[in-house]
Each structure stands twice: as C-alpha cells, then as structure tokens.
C-alpha cells in the first residue's frame, strides 16, 4: 500500500473513533432526557399540577405548587447569600490572591467542590436545625449556599483572570487606585463569566436533593415563611417516587421534568446573556 493511502486510512480510522466517542457520550444524555420527558409529560399536563398543593395519599389529583414555591424560595435565599460572598472571594483570588492565603482558599474551595452533597445537608442540620430546634427553609438555603460557593468563586476567578493585564495597567497608569480599577474596569469586563457562574450554581443548587432532606424537610402545605419547613421539587421527586400511588408517581416524574426544564432554561439564559454582553 502506498504511503498516502495509509495516511488516509489512519485519518479515517481516528475520525470514526472520535465520532463513536461522541455518540457514546451523547446517547445516554439524550435517552435520559427523552425518558424524563415521556414519563413526566402526562403529570405535567394534569390540571392543577402547577397550581394545587399535594392532596393526601390515595386522593386523586393534587399538584406541586408548594414545591415550586419552595424551590424558588430556598434557592433564591441561598443565591442571595452565596452570589455576593462567592463573587467577592473570586475577586479576591484573582486580583489579590497570588499568595499563600489565596492558595489556601483555592484548596478549601476545591475540597468543598468534591464533597458529597449530603455533607452540606448535615452541615445545615447541625448548624441551623439543631440550634433553632426545628426544620426550616433557611437551613436548606444555608446548606445550598455553601454548596454553591465554590462554583461561584471559581467561575468568578477564572472570568477575571481572562481580563487582559493591559486593561489593569491602563487604569492604573491613569492614576486610578487599584480597588477602582478592579470594580470599574476588571469586573465589568468579566461580568458575563461571573453572571454565568452564578446562574450555573443556582441551577445546580435547584436540583440538589440530599442537602434538603433534613433541613427544609418538606411540607405539603404551601409555605412562604423561610423559618418553617418547606417543600421543594427535588424533595417531591424523592418522596413521591417511593409511594405506591400512580398519580403521585406521575407527579414525581413531572417534577423531575420541571427541574430539568428549569436547569436547561437557566443554562440557555446564561449563554444568551454572555453572547449579548460579548457584542
């Protein structure tokens, strides 16, 4: 066989190998999505799914209104805590963290990223639930905030590190103090990445179940007081999937689908936002 022939064959072989790898990665995701959509759609289309609280077991109908409110409240408060703190730490790491303190923070954040999410639940339980003597949405928010923290601060840091050094120099050469350069030039230049990091962290938190089990605990009544136990979509999936009533199982699938849609929408919003800001 001639040399070019061999080269072409080798090229074809590796091209095919890459295509197969892509399929292997993509197929499970697509199958999973399809499965959730097929199984969840009937429940999602049931009247009252979005607007009714759950009915007692064995009673037909009911919805997940409590869980939708709960997820919004819990993740909302969690983000309110985690986004400002996380982005401030990220700014510190990028602009002032080229030292041992910065390295220590980075290490701790990496450890936190690798921790199983139930550990954050135990944290919320020990720190808030045990000291206040009852389950509450706020304890779940705190647990989720700690879980979101490393995602946000790392995203913020990597977005800021990408800002060219020449921009910082331009600001400083004008006689701007370093804090002004950071806040008025560097952070705005990296805002797309920072916002994306925040949204992705929120999406991740919305889907977490383990940290909520013994913090928010769950609540079949529509509850908006963050100091009371509260339902959440992830908890609905977890509880109703284990129940022998088909209407509740349908609700579990539908709640899972709703969560997937929520996370997907957040991701898409983040991307659209970044595209727009980059123009």
């Amino acid at each position: 066989m001639s040399r070019p022939m061999v080269r072409i064959l080798v090229d074809r072989f590796f091209g095919a190998l890459i295509a197969v790898s892509v399929m292997l990665a993509a197929v499970p995701v697509l199958v999973l999505l399809l499965f959730v959509v097929i199984k969840g759609l009937p429940g999602l289309l049931t009247p009252g799914f979005f607007t009714d609280p759950p009915f007692p077991q064995g009673v037909p109908g009911g919805g997940v209104f409590n869980a939708i409110i709960g997820t919004l409240v819990i993740v909302g408060i969690g983000s309110l805590l985690a986004v400002p703190i996380g982005s401030l730490i990220g700014i510190f790491l990028s602009e002032y963290g080229r030292n041992q303190l910065g390295d220590a923070v980075r290490f701790i954040s990496d450890v936190l990223t690798g921790l199983p999410s139930i550990a954050f639940g135990i944290f919320g339980y020990t720190v808030v639930v045990l000291t206040t003597h009852h389950f509450s949405a706020i304890s779940a928010s705190i647990a989720l905030a700690v879980l979101m923290l490393p995602v946000i601060l790392r995203a913020t840091e990597s977005a800021l590190v990408l800002v060219p050094q020449s921009l910082r120099e331009a600001g400083l050469a004008l006689g701007a103090p370093r804090w002004r350069v950071t806040l008025e030039i560097v952070v705005p230049a990296a805002l797309g990445g920072i916002v994306t990091g925040g949204l992705l962290a929120m999406a991740r938190a919305a889907g977490e179940t383990a940290p909520l089990l013994f913090t928010a605990f769950g609540n079949d009544i529509v509850q908006t007081n963050p100091f009371q136990p509260m339902g959440a979509l992830a908890l609905t999936v977890f509880r109703n999937a284990l129940v022998p009533y088909t209407n509740l199982q349908d609700q579990a699938w539908a709640a899972a689908l709703l969560l997937v849609m929520l996370v997907a929408t957040t991701n898409i919003l983040a991307r659209v936002y970044v595209r727009r800001i980059q123009r």
């Binding site: 331009a170 400083l172 050469a173 006689g175």
Partner: protein
C-alpha cells in the same frame, strides 16, 4: 548604508532648531539600578529629560528600555519582587521615594502602551474615566473629553458615535483614543512604550504627527525599536545596551542629531549603522 543616509538627512532638516541654552529638566533619572528578584535589569542608568521635548530610548531587544520607562511612573510596583535604587526626580522630587503618592504621580506621568488597550466601554467613557475618577463636574468632563479627542485628531471621526463601544474603532483610532484618555487627566509627562509597534504605517504617521503637536505642552519619553522613528520624532536620543551581566546601561545620550550623525561611542555607531541589533 542608504538607510543611514536617509536617517541623517531627516535629522539634519528636522532638528537643530530648538537647543535651549538653559534647558528645563523635567525628569531626571540618576544612577538608577533595577532588579527583578536577583536579576539586575538596569545598571546605573541616568537620563535628564528636557521639558516639552521628545526623548527617545533606543537599543536592541532586552536592553532595558521598557523597564527604564516604567520606572518613571512606578508601574513596576505591580510586579512583586522588583526593586529600584537611585533617584528619579520629577520637578526635583524623587518619585522612587516610598512616601510618594503613586496615584498622584501617575496622574502627572501618563502612559501609552505597546498595544492599544481601550476599556471595553464607550468612546466617551474611555476618555471620561480619568476625569470622572477625579470627581470633576459633568460640564468640565464633557469639555475635557471633547478637547482631548480634538487634540488627538479623533473628534471629527467619532463625534457622532461617542456612545458606541471603543472596541469597534480601528487599531490606530484605538491608540489615539488611549492617548486622548491619558491626556484627559492633564498629565505633564507622557511615557510611550513603542506606541506604534502594533499599527500600520499610516496610523504610525498620525501618532508621530500628534507627538510633534503635543510636545508644545507635554514632555514625551518614547521607547522605540525603530531607529527611523527615533530619528524622525525625537529631539534627544538615549542609546541603551546590555552589559556583560545582561543589565541595561545607557551608553550614550544627547541630541538626536548628534547620536545619529556624530556618535561618540563606537557601540552607538555600530548599532546606528546596523552592524548589530
């Protein structure tokens, strides 16, 4: 050799005009040594920069031109592990002294960088950034933005789109915008670090013409790789070279005309005539 003759002709006609009997020294570097950690990048570098003149720093790559320039506005403060000894007097005050207010210093000594680095903001906000920071009134900011853009010849080109992003401008326009931004805080000295190295010949020419206008009011120090550029624009030239320990030294400094036509040091002559570098 033909190149050299053309350089000589340029300096011959352009210079010789304004040699003050009693020159005002704006910036006076005296035996400056500079270290990156253990590495010495500058050795006993001295340079007396005359007010409202253009002084060029030339020399081969790595000879410490940019390092020297960035000492004048203390840009090295950002790099950990750097250290300078000696004195740099700005109107008689040592800018290397630790109790100097660096922020104040940088307002007096502006800088233009190798690559245009406009902020990712509107054209107006780029120029207004400094004045805004200084807390000037809105009317004064508007006025200084317009003046700075006029001084850099940009006003006619951008006056209808001041709110558009500065990143849409061409490279040459961006560099003139950066110059306008530096002028807006009303500095006395402008440091230019190879300001035209990323620009095409026409944009380069614009910058060089601007420098001739600006030297009526500002003291300019320019680092350049390009000997023709130094010959074209500068009144004084300092030739720098690395010594055997790779530390930069000022080999010869004087009127540009003398450096290019009557160099005293053999090494200057070798460099000017293109024997190395």
């Amino acid at each position: 050799m033909g190149q050299l003759i053309s350089i000589r002709m340029q300096t011959e006609t352009a210079r010789r005009v304004e040699q003050d009997a009693d020159p005002e020294i704006k910036l006076d570097a005296r035996q400056v040594n500079f270290f990156y950690g253990d590495f010495q990048a500058l050795h006993d570098a001295s340079l007396a920069v005359q007010a409202r003149r253009i002084t060029a720093l030339i020399g081969p790559s790595g000879c410490g031109k940019t390092t020297f320039l960035r000492i004048f506005n203390r840009m090295h403060d950002l790099t950990p592990g750097t250290r300078a000894t000696g004195e740099v007097l700005l109107d008689g005050h040592n800018v290397l002294s630790p109790d100097v207010d660096v922020i104040q210093l940088r307002r007096q000594v502006g800088m233009l960088f190798q690559r245009p680095n406009p902020f990712p903001k509107s054209i107006f906000d780029n120029v207004a950034y400094g004045p805004h920071m200084l807390g000037w009134s809105k009317a004064r900011i508007n006025q200084v933005v317009e003046e700075s853009l006029k001084d850099t010849g940009l006003w006619e080109e951008v006056k209808t789109r001041l709110q558009r992003s500065a990143l849409n401008l061409s490279g040459g326009q961006q560099q003139r915008l950066c110059l306008a931004r530096a002028l807006a805080v009303e500095p006395q000295v402008i440091l230019m670090d190879e300001p035209a190295s990323a620009l095409d010949p026409i944009a380069t020419l614009r910058i060089e013409e601007l420098m001739q206008d600006l030297k009526q009011r500002y003291t300019i120090v320019i680092v350049t790789h390009n000997m023709q550029q130094a010959a074209r624009v500068s009144d004084f030239t300092a030739f720098m070279l690395m010594n055997e320990k790779r530390a930069g030294e000022v080999i010869e400094y004087g009127p540009t005309d003398d450096i290019f036509n009557r160099p005293k040091d053999g090494r200057t002559e070798d460099y000017i005539t293109g024997r190395f570098g």
